[in-house]
């Protein structure tokens, strides 16, 4: 097991890279968690800046507008998706609401009646959703003989304020914890790409150095045994990094683990970690150049994090960007992280895609390694 032992040893000689990435990670998490706490306290009185585009102009839609205007500040907005996303991204608007032409009908049929753009980085944005849902719920109750009793709705809304606050306290708190986990695990994706490619890539380039490898080739160590120990080393390293994240999240949020669907984060992280390990295998078979490896680790970790919605929520990214992001496992990893699910079956497609990428990376890597052996 000398090869295994020295794989780990050489990896630990690059410990500064690991420490750097993990420090960035925990600083981010720390900033975020204090943020999350603040949100929980302040949601009650927040007035948000929202934009409303009313295409329906019905009695019902003006009723909704009136109600929202009372609770929030209204900002001017254009009906253009890119523009709306930009406004939200720049935090000029916290949310934008689009009321469709067939609004009334949709409400009656209990269909998804309203399109809301919001910034998921701010849980206050959920408040809008809540207000809209509340309004629609009351409206539905008053619906009779093809008419809404808007006066009753208004009354009910006014009365419900107190009740609402009491009963929503709990559910908001839960959202706060869940958003902490979402943020935390999304960012592990960034660190995993950076650390795996940098560390494993650099170590592999040391072991695959032509001169050093010639010494291995003339030795009595079987190639198969050698490779086995190398891959075991990679697996150990990956498992250790993954475990650090899992354990740290348990230490920080352990008491609240029961409040979220934790298995989702766990399984997703492990699957993602595996697919990036396969990506690293591919990269280390393509290049031994240390500069290329370091550059790839930075570019891929930051780049895919950005386009896949780690830094900015996926809803705020353009369709074109997301279309590109789909060619990398990070997109599916983030998607699962952001999902509100009760069973892993609901995200089986996203899990499958990550594993599919893993297999593809492995196969391409094998082709390259076979070619290198022949040369």
């Amino acid at each position: 097991m000398t090869v295994y032992k020295y794989f780990i040893k050489v990896a630990l000689k690059n410990k500064w890279i690991i420490i750097m990435y993990i420090t960035i990670f925990f600083v981010m998490t720390l900033l975020n968690s204090t943020d999350a706490m603040k949100r929980e306290e302040s949601f009650v009185e927040t007035r948000l800046n929202i934009g409303i585009i009313d295409k329906s102009m019905s009695e019902l839609s003006s009723g909704l507008r009136e109600y929202l205007e009372k609770e929030n500040n209204i900002v001017d907005i254009l009906e253009d998706e890119e523009y709306i996303k930009e406004q939200i991204f720049l935090e000029i608007a916290d949310a934008v609401i689009i009321i469709p032409e067939d609004f009334d009908q949709k409400v009656v049929n209990k269909k998804e009646a309203i399109l809301i753009y919001k910034d998921d980085r701010k849980p206050q944005a959920l408040q809008i959703e809540n207000q809209v849902n509340k309004f629609l719920a009351f409206a539905n109750i008053t619906y009779k003989d093809g008419r809404f009793e808007l006066e009753d709705v208004k009354e009910a809304l006014n009365e419900s304020v107190e009740v609402q606050l009491l009963s929503s306290g709990d559910s908001y708190a839960r959202t706060g914890v869940d958003s902490w986990f979402r943020f935390y695990y999304k960012f592990t994706g960034y660190v995993i790409i950076g650390v795996y490619i940098a560390i494993i890539g650099l170590v592999m380039s040391d072991f695959r150095d032509k001169n050093v490898d010639n010494r291995r080739k003339i030795s009595s160590k079987r190639f198969l045994d050698f490779n086995k120990e190398m891959y075991l080393g990679q697996l150990t390293l990956a498992a250790a990094v993954t475990a650090v994240f899992i354990v740290a999240s348990m230490l920080i949020m352990g008491k609240k683990l029961g409040e979220v669907y934790y298995i989702k984060y766990l399984v997703n992280l492990i699957v993602f970690s595996f697919s990036i390990l396969c990506l690293t295998f591919l990269i280390s078979n393509i290049t031994r150049n240390k500069y290329a490896i370091t550059a790839l680790s930075t570019v891929l970790s930051l780049g895919t994090s950005f386009i896949s919605g780690v830094m900015v929520p996926q809803e705020l990214l353009g369709d074109k960007v997301l279309a590109i992001a789909k060619f990398f496992p990070m997109y599916y990893f983030v998607k699962i992280n952001d999902s509100m699910i009760k069973s892993l079956l609901e995200v089986r497609y996203e899990l499958f895609m990550q594993l599919l990428f893993a297999v593809v990376f492995l196969l391409i890597g094998l082709i390259f390694s076979k070619r290198a052996q022949k040369a």
Binding site: V3, Y6, S220, K221
Partner: protein, 313 residues
């Protein structure tokens, strides 16, 4: 009879256009220190790499320890050590870690390995540097580390590819001494170099190589006996006309006269009284000289006569 442990027969190796080995032959007996002597680019490293299956070759046969050598001949490989021409170590591991790692490619048992590593460190004199990283070592010390990594598993057959290139005199002597010691302890050595003196001093037998071919092989004395020049006399005259040089050619056994600065190098073929014949000539013609001495031919003369070129240090 000592066993023949390396047999290389008519090996041809071509790099795209360049013919690097041209029907190369080599045989090495157990216990020898064989010198593979030749100028830069003549194919020494290529020969070693072919023998060790690091390179595929186009034609020919290679046997080690009486068996055909292939990339999967792990039993043969166990008995072989290589000190490559370029320092081949991990920059990220210390001296001791490097030696231990390369030993670990052969030796699994921890205790044996610890002992072997200690002995290798002792052997190359790096005891005070075990915690150093290679980049902190001087050129000579780096070369010693390179050697330690190649011999730590106590191989029976050791290939050393120009282990003294760019090494100061002190480390060089240390290294040559070490190689002798390895040989005395029972290892067979194949040593490539383009330094004449080293080959002459160290090797029990020498193969002279040029353009991918083995030209001749034998002990230093045998090689020198092969060429026509058997004695060189160097004279430095105060003044000398060119006609006088022409008449010198008439002295018995003279094969060639070469002018080199102030010195005249007169080469004689095998024969008696060459020196006294020359002195008689000098007295006869009343020539005055500053110095005069006789030299036996060197390997350089051998190479010169075989190829028409000099093999300079």
């Amino acid at each position: 009879m000592k066993e023949m442990i390396v047999k290389v027969k008519n090996v041809v190796k071509r790099y795209s256009e360049k013919l690097a080995l041209d029907h190369f032959n080599m045989e090495v007996k157990e216990g020898e220190i064989l010198g593979l002597l030749g100028p830069n680019g003549c194919g020494k490293t290529t020969a070693i790499n072919c023998i060790l299956s690091l390179l595929n070759f186009d034609k020919g046969e290679i046997q080690l320890f009486g068996q055909k050598m292939t990339p999967n001949s792990y039993d043969i490989k166990r008995q072989i050590g290589l000190v490559p021409q370029e320092v081949s170590v991990f920059e990220n591991l210390t001296v001791r870690e490097n030696i231990d790692y390369f030993c670990g490619l052969y030796v699994d048992d921890k205790n044996t390995r610890r002992r072997y590593v200690d002995e290798a460190i002792e052997f190359v004199g790096l005891k005070d540097y075990v915690k150093y990283y290679p980049k902190k070592l001087s050129g000579g010390l780096k070369r010693r580390l390179n050697i330690a990594c190649g011999i730590v598993h106590k191989p029976k057959l050791i290939f050393l590819d120009e282990p003294t290139v760019a090494v100061d005199a002190q480390s060089r002597n240390f290294i040559l001494e070490g190689i002798r010691k390895l040989n005395q302890e029972g290892s067979t050595i194949i040593y490539t170099t383009h330094y004449l003196e080293e080959a002459e001093m160290l090797c029990s037998r020498i193969i002279i190589m040029d353009n991918g071919k083995d030209l001749v092989s034998g002990t230093t004395e045998e090689l020198k006996a092969m060429i026509t020049t058997s004695e060189k006399i160097v004279v430095s005259f105060l003044s000398l006309e060119d006609e006088m040089i022409d008449s010198m050619h008439k002295i018995p056994h003279v094969v060639d006269i070469e002018k080199k600065g102030e010195d005249l190098i007169i080469k004689f073929e095998n024969g008696n009284n060459n020196l006294s014949n020359l002195i008689s000539f000098i007295t006869e013609h009343k020539l005055t000289y500053r110095k005069l001495y006789s030299q036996l031919p060197t390997l350089n003369d051998v190479f010169l006569e075989l190829t028409g070129r000099e093999l300079r240090d």
